[in-house]
């Protein structure tokens, strides 16, 4: 694997070499390496690009890495990854996409990830998106995540986009069964003239299902962000959505919470706050000897930590 691809892997998956356990590395739209274990199988799809990741019921303490790296300018990569997580499994899945575009043409990765979380299964899903390159070509990523959680299942999703993605539309939908829970944490930073749109839709269909959707974002320069969080309470359930954004320079941030209760015992909350860095925060850090710019960097990186 070339150096640029290795650097990207480190950024998106903290990988310094070949990961442990099951993995599938996709590099420039082709297979870059794969490993399966006794409990986790990875199979290439035959009808369309992508893979099926099949995790046997009861699999515990295993992880799956499925990073995607693109270092070829002008490549459009569309991929369908389906995860079948067996009942009672407890696993960590680490995905991520890194684009290094040093050419003039746009590079695009659109990943459609579908999770079928079995009964009482527990998964943590981490994805990072990162772009680099000194060319004029845009880095575009449009990840779609479809989540179905069966009774008693639990999924925690951490999605991060810190740098270098010029345009992104991130769509996540989740449907929950009885006693199922989903926690989604989004961290996002846009700069330059980037545009990022996030749309979460959670259907709380099962009795005692629950959702917590939390977004923290920073918009710099002339970038634009739109955050839409929609929770539908269709049964006895609890849902909470929170958007907290720091706006800087000439950026624009729109937060659109939408909660709908279709059941008398649905309890739903939304919170949204957008504002610039408080002047007193900057002053406090400046009295510790930081310049205004250093203070700003500390506040932003702490906020997105």
């Amino acid at each position: 694997m070339e150096k640029i691809q290795k650097d990207l892997l480190e950024k998106i998956a903290d990988l310094h070499g070949t990961p442990e356990g099951a993995y599938n590395i996709r590099a420039n739209g082709a297979l870059g390496g794969r490993n399966t274990t006794a409990n986790i199988d990875i199979v290439t799809k035959e009808d369309k690009p992508g893979i099926d990741i099949i995790i046997k019921p009861g699999t515990k303490n295993e992880s799956v890495h499925i990073p995607v790296v693109i270092s070829q300018s002008g490549l459009t990569d569309l991929v369908y990854n389906d995860f079948f997580i067996g009942d009672d499994a407890d696993v960590v899945i680490i995905a991520g996409c890194g684009i290094h575009n040093s050419g003039d043409k746009a590079s695009e990765h659109d990943g459609i990830h579908t999770f079928h979380v079995g009964k009482n299964a527990k998964i943590k899903y981490v994805e990072k998106h990162y772009g680099a390159g000194d060319g004029n070509g845009e880095n575009i990523m449009n990840p779609t995540t479809v989540i179905e959680i069966d009774d008693g299942g639990y999924m925690e999703m951490e999605t991060t986009q810190i740098k270098g993605i010029d345009s992104t539309k991130r769509v996540t939908t989740a449907k929950l069964g009885n006693d199922a829970k989903v926690v989604i944490k989004e961290k996002l930073m846009t700069h330059g003239s980037q545009f990022a749109e996030t749309e979460f839709t959670v259907d709380l269909n099962g009795e005692n299902s629950g959702a917590n959707v939390i977004s923290r974002s920073v918009a710099k320069d002339t970038s634009k962000q739109v955050f839409l969080s929609r929770i539908n309470g269709n049964n006895k359930c609890s849902g909470h959505t929170e958007c907290d954004a720091i706006i800087m320079d000439n950026a624009t941030v729109a937060a659109i919470p939408e909660i709908t209760a279709n059941h008398i015992d649905a309890s739903l909350i939304h919170e949204a706050a957008i504002g610039k860095i408080a002047g007193e925060q900057l002053i406090k850090l400046m009295t510790l000897g930081l310049t205004e710019q250093e203070a700003e960097e500390q506040i932003v990186s702490g906020f997105l930590k």
């Binding site: 923290r216 007193e280 002053i283 510790l288 310049t291 906020f303 997105l304």
Partner: protein, 240 residues
């Protein structure tokens, strides 16, 4: 060490200029100086002028003989001035360890950071990784603020009413913190306070009222006089 020469500070209030500090001259060389006086008299403004948060309308500020009047907050901090806010600031995401590390100006390990917290009476293990956000109480924030000043260890430390918003139990500990600081600190402390027990630690006391220095002298001379006055009188008549 610190000298204010003819410092005035004006603000625009409803289309007219309001003078908050009027031609203040003050020379501070002692280890522990307390500034006291009625609310609204200009004490906090004076502290903010020293820290560089406000620029004086006229006058000069010298620090170790160097003119720092036009220096920014950052430059003054780097020269060795620390300032503990009356109302500490909250930060989403930054932890107690992050702030203490920034204050120390170098990477410090957990046990060093914990030493500063223990000094201010916080059980370090419980706090070191806490976010400095709304989950901390006012009293906890005040102590973290003081721990940051100790971590900086600069030539001059200015505290703006460290006792404000602290309960009585914590206050007793706070007094101990300042008594200990008096013995240990290498530089000078300026502390704005209304509390007799804090004034009692000071070498010198400055009384500020109506934007002017009303009295400045040794604690032994000033304190008995201050205590002799009725509280109501001191805020209405005595300083006029």
């Amino acid at each position: 060490m610190l000298e204010l020469i003819n410092v005035s500070f004006e603000v625009d209030a409803e289309n007219e200029k309001k003078e908050i500090l009027k031609d203040v001259s003050l020379k501070i060389d002692d280890r522990f100086v307390a500034i006291t006086g009625p609310n609204g008299g200009g004490k906090s403004t004076l502290a903010k002028i020293i820290a560089g948060i406000y620029q004086p309308t006229s006058g000069k500020i010298l620090f170790d003989g160097e003119d720092i009047t036009n220096m920014s907050i950052t430059e003054r901090a780097r020269k060795g001035i620390s300032f503990a806010f009356q109302q500490p600031v909250r930060f989403k995401g930054l932890t107690v360890k992050d702030l203490i590390t920034l204050a120390a100006g170098k990477s410090i390990n957990v046990s060093e950071a914990c030493t500063y917290l223990s000094e201010v009476g916080l059980c370090a293990r419980d706090y070191i990784n806490r976010e400095v956000n709304a989950s901390l109480s006012g009293g906890e924030l005040k102590r973290i603020e003081i721990a940051m000043i100790m971590a900086r260890g600069t030539k001059l430390s200015v505290f703006d009413e460290p006792e404000a918003g602290i309960d009585l139990w914590s206050f007793n500990n706070l007094i101990k913190v300042f008594e200990k600081m008096y013995d240990k600190i290498n530089g000078s402390i300026i502390i704005i306070s209304h509390q007799e027990r804090i004034l009692n630690i000071a070498d010198k006391i400055v009384v500020v009222a109506n934007g002017k220095i009303k009295q400045y002298g040794a604690k032994e001379d000033i304190l008995p006089e201050l205590l002799g006055r009725g509280a109501a009188e001191s805020s209405c008549k005595a300083f006029d």
